[in-house]
């Protein structure tokens, strides 16, 4: 096999003592990207292994994100057309599928590139320093980050936030599998607190100023559009219809708007048994119950269940809360974890006028509590054993 030979020939150059040994972990990453490692089982221990590995599991999360990514790209262009083209949602030109999509692609691509370049750069450097393999966890984080930031977040801020998250939320804890907080959410939290003008949560900046070559729209400076949550927090009428919030043709962070696209991802994750359906379900149950108790008294044209379709609720429940590393390890803990995320997110939204969106903070808060939920279940097992011994 040609490729294998090339890699084998290059290997000594990148190995310890070779000319390019400083890039050894990068070479390793490339090699395992192309080929399943040929390492065989040791003398003792299981001699056969399941074909699943963390690389495949993690890439399936990326696959599950594809619908949300594609729709997000389309929606960037669509929202742009709405504010620049002077058309209404009913008018035909705004449904220019390819034009909108290409516009969004052009906006989105630099963010994806920056996120991956910064994050993977740090991961590879750390792996090299620790003489470990590069862990693939960042492949998901790196695509999640562009999906949960505002559309025209400057690239340098994005790079800064990504670097902060990878170093302080992940590597200092020991890398993939050891972190306490979801690194993608830490990126968003960093932006939220360090650059509040970028993302207060009530308005998002619809991209308008720097790419207008695609559809020839007149250059306008960035325009801010209120999100449904922003309108709720301000006590205004929500303009978006339930249909729009479910399909996702509303302003918002790039990946979070379309309930349909996210649910397709959820189906893929549950089908492949990669994310916990228990966390997803209990998040929705917790959110629904809390939304029902705290529902608006009819002054606003907003049903309680619509809470679950707007903002980052769905995206958080499906892709963020289910991060296996930062969620509880016990099955019982997962139920509580999800339930409290859903409930907490709605509480923050409705009762705290300062923060129109509560999903990010709810998940980060529950990340802290995840070990506590595990503690209850593990401790129950320990107590049972101790009691049995006394008898």
């Amino acid at each position: 096999m040609g490729l294998k030979k090339i890699l084998d020939n290059l290997k000594p150059t990148f190995s310890e003592g070779g000319k390019l040994s400083a890039f050894g972990s990068l070479f390793d990453a490339a090699e395992t990207f192309f080929f399943v490692p040929n390492e065989t089982a040791k003398v003792r221990g299981a001699q056969i292994h399941d074909a699943i590995d963390s690389k495949r599991s993690i890439f399936f999360v990326v696959i599950a994100l594809i619908p949300a990514i594609l729709f997000g790209m389309y929606n960037i262009g669509y929202q742009h057309a709405l504010v620049t083209g002077g058309c209404t949602p009913d008018a035909c030109p705004c449904a220019d599928l390819w034009g909108n999509f290409l516009y969004g692609l052009a906006v989105m691509l630099p963010k994806i590139v920056v996120s991956y370049a910064v994050g993977l750069g740090i991961e590879i450097a750390v792996a090299q320093w620790k003489k470990e393999e590069v862990h693939e966890g960042f492949f998901v984080t790196g695509i999640l980050i562009p999906l949960i930031v505002p559309v025209n977040c400057p690239l340098w801020i994005l790079a800064l936030a990504t670097a902060f998250a990878v170093i302080f939320a992940k590597e200092v804890f020991g890398g993939t599998g050891m972190n306490i907080f979801n690194p993608a959410l830490v990126t968003r939290a960093f932006l939220f607190f360090a650059y509040p003008s970028m993302m207060s949560g009530d308005k998002v900046w619809v991209n308008g100023n720097y790419i207008d070559c695609i559809n020839g729209a007149p250059a306008v400076d960035a325009v801010s559009c209120a999100t449904p949550l922003g309108q709720l927090a301000a006590g205004e009428e929500v303009i978006a219809t339930p249909m729009q919030t479910i399909i996702g043709t509303i302003p918002g962070s790039i990946g979070e708007t379309s309930v349909i696209a996210i649910l397709i991802g959820a189906v893929i994750l549950i089908w492949a048994n990669i994310a916990s359906w228990k966390i997803m379900l209990s998040t929705f149950v917790g959110g629904a119950l809390m939304a029902y108790f705290l529902r608006y008294d009819g002054a606003q044209n907003f049903e309680w269940w619509e809470q679950l379709t707007v903002g980052g609720f769905c995206f958080g429940a499906v892709f963020m809360a289910t991060d296996p590393v930062t969620s509880p390890r016990t099955e019982g803990g997962k139920w509580i974890f999800g339930f409290l995320i859903g409930a907490m997110a709605i509480i923050i939204r409705v009762l705290n006028p300062g923060y129109p969106e509560g999903m990010m903070l709810a998940i980060l808060l529950m990340n802290v509590f995840a070990p506590l939920f595990d503690y209850f279940f593990v401790q129950a097992n320990i107590n049972k054993r101790a009691k049995r011994a006394k008898k």
Binding site: M1, L3, K4, T32, F33, F34, F35, V36, P37, N38, E39, T40, A41, K42, V43, R44, G45, A46, Q47, I48, H49, D50, A51, I52, D53, S54, K55, R56, S57, F59, F60, E133, H135, G137, G174, G175, T176, G177, M178, W271, A272, N273, I274, S276, P324, V325, S327, R329, T330, E331, D374, F377, V378, N381, I382, K384, R385, A386, R388, A389
Partner: protein, 447 residues
């Protein structure tokens, strides 16, 4: 009517090359070897010299801490070699078989008339006591302990494992005698599969276990019947080893003839062979291993067994010899996305879940992924049918936290109980090695 216990967690791995139910005698080996490492947790003291003549049943080495626990030669002949490794560790004691077999006469005995002490005496003298494994620690049993129970699993559900029905055929009377003898030492529990002929066994509590692998693991059965608490000891012994005990009392001699499965995708004609403990692996598989690929020979089954080779000797507890492709030249492209139809996985990112359960897989010895920290949760739990949190226990062992290991139930487990979890683990953690180290660490600490 026996108690029926359903095991819901677990995984059956359907491998190609199951042994057909035909039994034949393997050619006699010229040299037999007894490997001390097969009796884990024991320091051997060799009691023979090279050139000594021994009969089948004469001690080759004893347990240094408990010299009354002997390990005896499976054949008569001349001690050929005491093979030693680093720091003079005894690797094997090899006996060149004589043309005429001679057995040490231990005398036929009627088990019913014996006391517990007499049974123990007979087992110690004949070297069969060494087949007991105790929990905690999963090591050779200590004859001074009074176990709260002796557990025998008559279920072999590991992939390619020898079918108990085939192994037991013709040995039923000896099995019964063996169980009756054990019953003099402690209460005996026998775990059987549904509709097993062994369900009518006397002098023991019989429990029927229904479920997937590792329901046949004696540790799983203990956990469901009468779990081990701190300070308690139980002994376990293999079903075929109970037959050895039965033969001792019925025939008056040590006859370590086993019926083992010779199985796996790289065996030309998978079948059962009658062999003596300590036979040369090469003689057992002679002419029966495929040669078109690089083959890994395993002493035991592919989940709990140990890599071996043709010059090695069959370990004392092994009930099968299996052969799978080594696979180190597979070079599979794009493993993270390719469909890989031939692979077996519990993950539905592969297609094995769509294919019928009867489909048999050829799995090679590759680890099939990079080693990671534990990332995905619940993987071990779904195939670990004990009332124990496996992941938390393994983490406590890695951290060396003795108190927590105890609290989480390390006294109840053996490495083999983690075999299926090690198979499904996407982070490729060497669970059985870690658990072994944890048990040894704890034992050292407590002694």
């Amino acid at each position: 009517m026996a108690n029926v216990i359903k095991i819901t967690k677990g995984l059956n791995i359907n491998l190609k090359g199951k042994a057909a139910a035909q039994v034949s005698a393997a050619p006699a080996s010229q040299v037999y070897g007894l490997v001390p490492d097969a009796f884990w947790g024991m320091k051997p003291k060799v009691v023979v010299k090279e050139g000594d003549e021994v009969k089948a049943g004469d001690a080759l080495f004893v347990n240094k801490q408990h010299p009354e626990v002997k390990f005896v030669s499976p054949v008569a002949g001349k001690v050929k070699l005491v093979e030693r490794g680093d720091r003079r560790k005894v690797l094997s004691v090899q006996v060149e078989a004589a043309a005429q077999q001679a057995y040490v006469d231990f005398g036929k005995k009627d088990v019913k008339s014996l006391s517990g002490e007499q049974v123990k005496e007979a087992l110690l003298e004949s070297g069969l006591f060494g087949f007991f494994i105790q929990r905690p620690y999963a090591v050779v049993a200590d004859p001074n302990d009074a176990p709260k129970g002796i557990f025998v699993s008559a279920i072999a559900d590991m992939p390619l494992a020898a079918d108990i029905d085939v192994v037991m055929k013709g040995n039923e009377a000896d099995f019964q005698t063996g169980i009756s003898a054990l019953a003099k030492l402690a209460k005996v529990y026998v775990g059987v599969k549904p509709d097993s002929a062994l369900a009518n066994i006397q002098d023991a509590e019989v429990n029927v276990f229904k479920g997937k692998c590792p329901a046949g693991n004696v540790g799983v059965q203990i956990n469901h019947i009468n779990p081990v608490n701190k300070g308690e000891v139980v002994w376990t012994i293999g079903a075929e080893e109970v037959v050895f005990i039965g033969r001792l009392f019925n025939e008056g001699k040590v006859n370590l003839t086993r019926t083992i499965a010779v199985a796996g995708s790289e065996i030309k004609e998978p079948q059962y062979k009658q062999v003596l403990v300590g036979a040369k692996i090469g003689d057992i598989v002679a002419g029966n291993v495929k040669t078109d690929t690089k083959v890994r020979l395993i002493d035991g089954n592919p989940l709990t067994g140990m890599k071996t080779d043709e010059n090695a000797f069959l370990l004392a507890h092994s009930t099968e010899v299996t052969a799978i492709p080594e696979g180190d030249e597979a070079n599979e492209l794009f493993g993270w996305i390719a469909p890989r139809f031939k692979n077996f996985s519990v993950s539905r990112s592969y297609f094995s879940w769509l294919l019928p359960k009867s489909r048999e897989y050829v799995l090679d010895a590759r680890v099939k992924g990079g080693h990671r920290h534990m990332i995905f949760s619940g993987e071990y739990d779904s195939v670990f049918p004990m009332d124990i949190y496996p992941e938390q226990l393994v983490k406590a062992i890695i951290a060396g936290d003795i108190d927590r290991m105890e609290a989480l139930g390390i006294y109840e487990v053996a490495p083999e109980d983690f075999a299926v979890a090690e198979f499904v683990d996407s982070s490729k953690v060497e669970l059985q090695r870690i658990v072994r180290e944890g048990l040894d660490m704890l034992r050292k600490e407590n002694e």
